[in-house]
């Protein structure tokens, strides 16, 4: 072969075409590092410690071969990255937005994480996601439920789980369904604490009540961790609404139920915004006083009957933590799986490529452990197909009563 100009060009073109094939071999990834930012000390340390177990369970499923219909379960590690293993780096934000920010920056610059998952407190998610945006590292809100988070229009922000407005919408859908069956539900009483969680929740409920024609007869905001709720409960008693809707953390929830007992007020029905009302501690303390209480949730172990893997994964988590999956730990577990699945499809640890893969996510609900229709993010990074469930506490355990496709029993209404 003579060295003609054409041959040189051809050879050049051929090697150029081969280059992309050669690249992955050079950039062989041994492990994928993911940062996990939670409160590991301070008032909400227990949440963080449970979260660690949930994330470790997910990492275990990613790194070993399991026969579940869950993304990342089959095969060891990231099949898209030559079997690279996931390594989690935990950081403690102590519920302080400034510390969360510093930890996110440390994870990105020192630990070289490819993605970050967090954070329980919504205020910390604000700063952590800001830092991720600046470094172009994807951030997934596993269990933050403040709707303001995804509305900031960040490019690297994603949330697979429902936000508070979706949760409240499910409650009003439930009321509408009951009304159709001939139940009388006209008046509502809101009772909410004054941090982001309670504020957002009440705002959503006020709006929904106005849209759908329910009358709010009491809207009571109280100071979180209040030493006494007597005055507030007296107002609730006077209003005696058809449904009492508390948005309270555990200690406030317990105090509410105790004070109601002391003042002789028995609510006709209670439909609670999760938080304290999905915590075991509350039911251990005052569960006998509120049979038939309903709480929203994003997870239900009843799913195990339809999807056996839910029970098996729950057993794995229980072995580590001594607890069943609850509303938070299930979302945390699923958060890491969704992120890992995107990294696997991106076949890269580059932030921008992972972001593109997250945008392209379309995971059917059956291959998650959640009651969701599917995981698919809208342009703001929110998954609008994450259907919440309503659970009723009855005979010492929770039963799914709504929506119909997830329900295993009819609601007992009014409360016994």
């Amino acid at each position: 072969m003579t060295i003609s100009r054409r041959n040189v060009l051809l050879g050049g073109a051929a090697s150029a075409a081969l280059l992309p094939l050669a690249k992955p071999a050079r950039a062989q990834v041994k492990e994928v590092v993911i940062g996990v930012i939670y409160p590991l000390s301070g008032a909400s340390a227990q949440i963080g410690v449970d979260a660690q177990k949930a994330f470790e369970t997910a990492a275990d499923i990613i790194n070993k071969d399991y026969d579940f219909a869950l993304p990342m379960a089959k095969g060891e590690g990231f099949t898209g990255l030559g079997g690279a293993k996931v390594r989690l780096v935990f950081a403690d934000h102590q519920a302080d937005p400034q510390k969360g920010r510093a930890e996110a920056e440390r994870l990105i610059t020192q630990e070289k994480v490819s993605a970050i998952v967090g954070t329980y407190q919504s205020a910390v998610a604000v700063t952590v996601s800001q830092i991720c945006e600046r470094y172009q590292i994807p951030f997934l809100s596993a269990d933050n439920s403040s709707p303001s988070l995804h509305r900031r229009g960040l490019k690297y922000y994603f949330r697979a789980a429902p936000h508070d407005e979706m949760f409240s919408t499910a409650m009003f859908d439930f009321f509408d369904a009951l009304k159709k069956k001939g139940q009388k539900i006209e008046t509502l009483a809101l009772f909410h604490e004054d941090t982001i969680f309670g504020t957002d929740s009440a705002n959503a409920q006020l709006k929904l009540a106005a849209d759908r024609g329910y009358k709010i007869v009491a809207d009571i905001k109280y100071r979180a961790n209040s030493p006494s709720l007597t005055a507030e409960v007296q107002q609730l008693k006077a209003a005696n609404a058809d449904v009492l809707m508390p948005s309270s953390y555990t200690t406030d929830g317990i105090l509410l139920i105790k004070t109601m007992g002391e003042l002789g007020y028995k609510a006709k029905n209670i439909v609670a915004q999760d938080a304290g009302f999905s915590e075991k501690a509350l039911y251990d303390a005052v569960g006998d006083k509120i049979p038939g209480v309903i709480s929203r949730g994003s997870f239900s172990l009843d799913l195990a009957a339809k999807r056996p893997m839910v029970g098996k994964i729950n057993d794995m988590f229980k072995e580590k933590s001594g607890k069943d999956f609850n509303d938070y730990s299930s979302r945390q577990f699923m958060g890491l799986i969704v992120m890992a699945d995107a990294i696997n499809r991106a076949k890269s640890t580059d932030g921008e490529k992972i972001r593109e893969a997250l945008v392209a996510t379309d995971m059917p609900g059956e291959s998650t452990i959640m009651p969701w229709a599917k995981v698919k993010f809208d342009e703001l990074g929110q998954n609008n197909n994450a259907d919440p469930v309503l659970l009723q506490y009855n005979g010492g355990k929770f039963v799914t009563i709504f929506p119909p496709q997830a329900a295993v029993a009819d609601a007992i209404w009014p409360m016994p």
Partner: protein
Amino acid sequence: MDSFTQRRRRDLILAAALAAIAACVPLFVKDVYVQNIMVLTLMYAALSQAWNILGGYCGQISLGHALYFGLGAYTTALLFTKFGVLPWFGMLGGGIISALIALALGYPTFRLRGHYFVIATIVIAEIGFLLFHNWDYAGAALGIDIPVRGDSWAKFQFTRSKLPFYYFALVFCCVAWFITWWLEDSKWGFWWRAVKDNPDAAESLGVVVFNSKMGAAAVSAFLTAIGGAFYAQFVSYIDPESVMTFQFSLLMALPAVLGGIGTLWGPVLGAVILIPMTELTRSFIGGSGRGVDLILYGAVIVVISLARPDGLIGLFSRRPASKGVPQ
């Protein structure tokens, strides 16, 4: 030249040398995480210096400085997000508002003595916290998210670089130190120390006790609010929980108390030891979730306060720290 003047000259030279060294540190330290710790250390040193003016020199222990810090942060953030006012003006405005509020609060509370004043500061700061917590215009519990759109000195926001914040914090710290140094030898400085030691005796010698307390409160609040405005820009998100809680008031007093209350170098020394320690222990052993970092932190504070009740500054003075301020 008496020994007091000599000491003051030595202090000034030492401060200039330390500031020059601090200004060169970023040339060698490129890691943003470490830079972040340095920024926080300087910020707390300055805040604690501001607290020290009222709490240390004038002897009016305040556990409500989070109120002034929060006012500075909120003034800047609100003016910027609602009216587009550059943070530099917000910073100044916040400082002035805080100083005025300190005067308004001082008017009734400085007539209280001892523990009652401390309690009043805690209660007033808590009221401020609750007001902001429920004030919808200021974001209530949701706080204020300051949008960051690229690097700009005018808007005082930088996406990744910590250096501008570092140098601002350094200047802030130097200014707070210098003001304290300058006041120490002024009429005010002598009045404050007299008020601290014995208000009745001071009054009998012609010191206007009430006015001198008011002056200390105004200077202290002004500087604290500048720190708050800086914090809002640095973190670019504020909410009542993170800038106005009681815990924050303690964090401002702690470096001064630990380093040496009522001394020029105490707050700086305290901050240099405390802040890196909290940050490093949290980052490198806090991930276990067992609280070891907080146990260590608490243990160090207990050991220091047992071994050096006058503060760490006692390690550096030849004479006992209690006699540190001469005639």
